[in-house]
Subunit: 279 residues, 2 copies
């Protein structure tokens, strides 16, 4: 399928692209952004995936994430997909935390969501093929990060595919969606009431069930309004401790849930991934 190039802007000597394509997984047109840093012609670069949070599109991190400087310095391609299928044909719930803008990186099994809400397969299978066909990326060197719902996405995709990602990080992630209101609502409606089906979409449950990550970094602001009710970072710390994992989980004093927080620590995340990507 051909890509439509919606925009291209020079930045930090590289190029920031925004593209759209017809997705086989979601059955809709999907938009994403890709930053390609300056590089020697002919070489292939490691890639860092960034999954956004509730209500977001590719735009939020592309405008406010402050990743380009670090990606240019380390020679890393940065890909930011949308958070759900879009379009008039796609069922929606008119709620900020379910439906459009809230795909939760699952393949829905329940109606009317199952046809289009296939963000897991879109991110895990389709988009890497699309990116590799069009941009100079080396799929042997991938890492993944994300924010909030997208932190949940990064953790669960990483835990299910430990051989595919050299490193996983997250900003203020939902770590145990089965145990919090956002997650119970989304997983219950997309996947149905049988909670056993939720476990592969829950980072803490995946770890309890045996999944492991060698390289995991989490930043969480202490002034984040969602920390107590929705994010519950401590649940991840405990699950990792029980499992013998040694993640870096950093509580950042005074930071909230916004892109002001993300942008502050983005360069550190990119540098941390770069080390593990050999970039």
């Amino acid at each position: 399928m051909p890509l439509d190039y919606l925009s291209q802007n020079r930045a930090y000597e590289g190029e920031q692209f925004v593209c759209s394509h017809q997705s086989r997984e979601t059955g809709t047109e999907m938009t994403f952004s890709v930053y390609v840093p300056p590089h020697m012609p002919g070489i292939k670069l490691p890639v860092l995936w960034y999954l956004a949070g509730l209500t977001c599109t590719h735009e939020n991190v592309t405008e406010k994430g402050e990743y380009r400087r670090a990606c240019a310095e380390h020679g890393i391609v940065f890909v930011a997909p949308d958070t759900s299928p879009r379009g008039e044909d796609v069922p929606d719930a008119d709620e900020y935390d379910f439906g459009k803008g809230a795909g939760f990186y699952v393949d829905a099994t329940q109606e009317p969501w199952a046809k289009h809400y296939r963000m897991r397969s879109y991110i895990e299978q389709e988009l890497p093929e699309v990116i590799a066909a069009e941009f100079p990326v080396d799929l042997e060197r991938q890492s993944i990060t994300g924010h909030s719902m997208g932190g949940h996405g990064a953790l669960t995709i990483g835990l299910r595919n430990p051989d595919r990602f050299r490193s996983v990080s997250a900003f203020s992630p939902i770590v145990a969606p089965s145990q919090v209101p956002w997650g119970e609502k989304a997983l219950g409606r997309y996947l149905g009431e049988d909670r056993a089906a939720w476990r592969e979409y829950d980072a803490v449950a995946l770890i309890e069930d045996g999944a492991r990550l060698d390289h995991l970094l989490v930043d969480q602001g202490t002034a984040d309004n969602f920390l107590e009710e929705q994010l519950k970072t401590g649940t991840l710390s405990m699950a990792c401790a029980k499992a013998g994992m040694s993640p870096e989980i950093r509580m950042q004093q005074g930071y909230d849930h916004s892109y002001y927080f993300i942008s502050t620590f983005m360069a550190e995340h990119v540098a941390w991934h770069a080390e593990r990507l050999g970039a």
Copy 2:
């Protein structure tokens, strides 16, 4: 007059504020953003003013300018005002390049604009008082920058007040508004048809009339769609050469007029000002 704090977010160990206040100059409520970097209690910091371009508010650079990292590193307060008066009482033209969002940093003399469109006095007189009363800034150490119409603002305010600003820089500025469509329209309507009155709002004319700057840095993208018709960077280069000024005017290959361009070179501008501010 008390300030309303609309938001406060921790970023790079400092605080990003957005505030509004009732302005005596514009007779309207005005909104601006201020980034205060981490600093020792009790000390006063140098300040860098950033004037935005057509259609912008304080938000554009606050979200997309990527200045906080450099300002935190150098200990500089960064202030981003709006580009015009706002509100239902303010006359508008329903055009992107005149009226609201397009104050051109002038004190209008023509009706119906004269009452509210007083962005020159707002930026030169009122806002520094407001900022100094509320934030830890040292008005003995000021520098100014801006983009496009705001680059025009930075250049002309700097040229009229050479003792007040240690350094002046601009991204893709309108350098000779009297000679280009955007400027002819705006200056003609705000100031009337007598072009003599335009000269104090035209950087090239100010230099021709004897104004000088010791420290001037301009970055201009070569792929900027407005370069030939509206910006005419070469006109500034020639005026400076005739006047014996030695600015740094850098043509940046392949960059356009967007915040992708601005953010790429923002840290260099902040560092350049920091050197001259003793920051």
